[in-house]
Amino acid sequence: MTALLFLLIAPLFTGSLKWLKARLQNRLGPDPLYDYRNLYKLWHKAWIRPSPSSPIFVWAPVMALLGAFLAALFLPLLPGFSFAGDFLVLAYLLNLGRFFQVLAALDTGSAFGGQGSYRESLVAVLAEPGTLLALGAAALASSQLSLAGLAPLSAENLLVYTLALVALALALVAEGARMPVDDPTTHLELTMIHEAQLLDHSGPLLALYELAAGLKMLVYLGLIALLMPLGAWSFPLVLLLGWLALGYLETYGVKLRYLRLPDLMSYSTLSGVLAVLGVVLRFRI
Amino acid sequence: MVGRKSLDALIRLYALQNVLLGLLAFVLAEGELHFILAGLGLLLIKGVLIPLYLFRLLERLGISHEVESYLSIPLSLLLGGLLAGVGFWVGRSFVLEGARLPEAVPVAIGLILLGMLFMVSRKKAVTQVLGFLALENGVFLLALAETHGLPLFIEIGVALDAFAAVVLAGVLIFRIKETFQHIDTARMRELKG
């Protein structure tokens, strides 16, 4: 259920984010619903297949979308599947999408694809430990290995959850390819990560990728929402907050140099480690 | 023996030693035939044959008759004295029950140790043979002192072995001289590692 919901609102989220940014930058900006139209347009175009490519080229956007979509299946914001260890499956389904995306980037034989591919691999290596440590810490703190069983934020677990939220927030910007990790608006080959991989995907393939990117961000926001104590209101609120935060960040922040990424992401890993230690060694504020 | 620098003197000393040993064997023989025979054999082989053989060897080799050593003469003497002392001191515990000539046991041990010192420190092949022969004499003296003599055929076998060894060594020394133009064993260090 969550997955379907996300599928519906993902273009809205990304589209309105562009609008927000434009407004913050004193531009008129596109219609917040622009991305729906864009996707529709792209889907109906013909697509180009680079000559050296293999079937992976076609499968990659599909897998990227399905990875994010199936991952959303396990988010218990709306009733859905829930079992012990579901958050691990969720995280690895996102990996599945990335695996194919990164592979397909090498498939074209182009220099940009290769650059995007190994940069994305680096980002994954940097972000993954923090994400899983944060989720693991939350699960340990709740003594439940399923997302549905996560205890909401409370005085009991304030420290742990704060740290976990830091880690997840950093993971969100890294995996969502947002500032300061990546600039979604740039097409300057020397700096881009996510866009470089999509350079040769066009038309419907690009549409799938765009949708997948939005979906992926929503999944991370959903994970953050699960830790919030507001019950059914958690997700809308987190969505709103995330929306505002990303907009402001990309207006007033700058992109970090690619080689400085490890410095930033080490905060994510560190928060994750401290969160786990906080649980198992029973730290309190 | 330890103090001498001349090879000829050494060989003569060795011959003298053997003659003395042979006499000792006669004295201890108490008329038993096989002791007398052993003593005779000893006199003949070790007192006469081996020294003669060595002299002839030296002659044919045509080398300087000087003993070359790692150790200086005073140091050799000092060490020799020390070893003899050790031999005397240690030798007492080698005196077995029923030893015939307990007094000679420490002498024998001392002789063995000196022989070894000689072999370790002297460079020429001939001197090493002499050291070996001194050692062998020590062993023989030990046998005389401790026991009523080894069985005769053993005794003869031992003496024959010693003789064969010396002959073989002599041949080898000769070949060494031919091949290397010297008989300094300290310089034969091709085989290592």
């Binding site: - | 060594a169 080898l172 070949r175 085989l191």
Partner: protein, 455 residues
């Protein structure tokens, strides 16, 4: 019969003084050796005079004759291939050597045993010398000096034992009965001399110095004889004396010495084997390793195991030296660095050498694996650790040259002809393999019974 057995090898030795064709000499040597093999089987447990052929003696007699016969066969092809006109020297000295060996194994008298062991030293010095040359001369000289001093020290031990027994008898069997009455401390001293004396010939560290020189400089068939049989004869003397000490109730005293000498030899050999440049020296150090292991097994109070170890070692080491002889014929160099690519150019020659070395490294299915297993099984934990450390380091030492020579880059300059060059080591390996798969434990135990002592 025993006297016939004793003197039989002198026949080809004397014949060699007249006849110079290697082919005839080889056949005669082979015939004499294998005839005495059969004779030995018939003459088991016979005694006459100071001679007696008991189980241990028979065991080593059979082993020696078997190996000698095969080596003679190999020597014929080897000397033909190396165009050596002086091959008769090998057969003359070799048979003289065999005579001394026969004597040692038949002698039941400790004095006589000593004489024949010394005799084997002299005869084998001739084998090492063979045709001369600077290196061979140096090796022979060192061997003769160290061996003679060693054996003289052994003689001191013999004399002391004789004196301790009251100067009555040197007959081994009787001596064992008398031994109980002897002073324990002094018997211990006597054993010290015997251990150092015979240990020199066994090649125990640090008395081993002659061994690599002699083994590497002797012609390959002679090296094979030295390693496969000569080391055994001194070890055989040690066996007898250990049993003597055992019957005096002093085994514990000897055990520690034997074990530590064995282990130290093993560990030292491990270091010496590493980064060795000359492949015949490599094999020589491997002999030192295995004799150390045999002595260690003896120190465990398991004479049968020690005998089994020497059996397997003799078979494999002989094959290895013969295989090395082939390589020497082919490459005309003993340097490991010069040899390479044997496997590509001469598979049969490579396999023989390879398998022999692998067997010596203690790998199954060869027998040394079994022997090492049994020895370890009887060991104390600390000794087990050292033993294994030694085995691994020795293996590392063998592995590098082995792989370099067999599989490494290189070309074969000349491929030796002659079937027995490969056939003889092949037979030895086959026997070793067969005995390794079905270790003749019961048989050897029966033969070793004469050595048994009650603790």
């Amino acid at each position: 019969m025993l006297y016939l057995l004793l003197l039989l090898p002198l026949l080809p030795a004397l014949y060699a003084l007249r006849e110079r064709t290697p082919a005839r000499l080889a056949s005669l040597s082979l015939g004499a050796a294998w005839f005495s093999l059969a004779l030995g089987l018939l003459a088991q447990n016979q005694a006459s005079g100071p001679l007696r052929l008991d189980g241990v003696g028979l065991f080593y007699l059979l082993l020696t004759d078997f190996i000698f016969g095969l080596v003679a066969l190999y020597a014929r092809a080897y000397f033909q291939e190396s165009q050596d006109q002086e091959a008769w020297r090998f057969f003359a000295a070799g048979n003289l050597f065999l005579f001394a060996m026969h004597g040692a194994f038949l002698a039941h008298n400790l004095g006589l045993l000593w004489i024949f062991v010394e005799g084997s030293t002299l005869a084998s010095a001739l084998l090492v010398y063979h045709k001369g040359g600077a290196r061979a001369l140096e090796a022979t000289w060192k061997y003769l000096m160290l061996g003679s001093v060693g054996i003289a020290l052994g003689l001191i031990g013999v004399i002391l034992v004789y004196a301790l027994l009251g100067g009555t008898t040197l007959d081994w069997q009787e001596a064992r009965e008398w031994a109980r009455t002897a002073s324990a401390a002094q018997l211990g001293l006597a054993f010290a001399f015997l251990l150092v004396g015979f240990g020199t010939k066994v090649g125990l560290f640090p008395l081993h110095a002659w061994l690599p020189d002699a083994h590497s400089e002797a012609p390959s068939p002679a090296s094979a004889l030295l390693s496969g049989t000569l080391l055994n004869v001194a070890f055989y003397a040690l066996l007898r004396y250990t049993a003597l000490l055992g019957s005096a109730g002093l085994f514990e005293k000897a055990a520690l010495l034997l074990q530590s000498f064995g282990l130290i030899s093993l560990l030292a050999a491990g270091l010496f084997l590493f980064a060795q440049k000359d492949f015949k020296r490599l094999l020589a150090y491997s002999s030192m390793e295995h004799m150390g292991l045999a002595v260690y097994a003896l120190g465990l109070g398991l004479p049968w195991l020690a005998m089994l170890h020497t059996l397997f070692h003799s078979l494999l080491k002989t094959a290895a030296f013969l295989g090395a002889g082939n390589l020497l014929l082919a490459y005309r160099s003993k340097l490991i660095a010069r040899v390479g690519g044997v496997y590509q150019a001469w598979p049969a020659g490579a396999w023989v050498f390879l398998l022999a070395l692998l067997g010596l490294a203690g790998l199954p299915p060869f027998g040394l694996f079994f022997a090492e297993f049994q020895a370890l099984l009887a060991s104390a934990p600390w000794a087990m650790g050292l033993y294994l450390l030694g085995l691994v380091s020795a293996f590392a030492g063998l592995l590098w040259p082995l792989s370099q020579m067999i599989y490494g880059p290189g070309t074969l300059p000349h491929r030796p002809q002659g079937q027995s060059l490969v056939l003889v080591p092949g037979v030895l390996l086959a026997v070793g393999l067969f005995l390794g798969l079905l270790p003749p434990v019961e048989l050897v135990k029966t033969w070793a019974e004469v050595l048994a002592w009650t603790r």
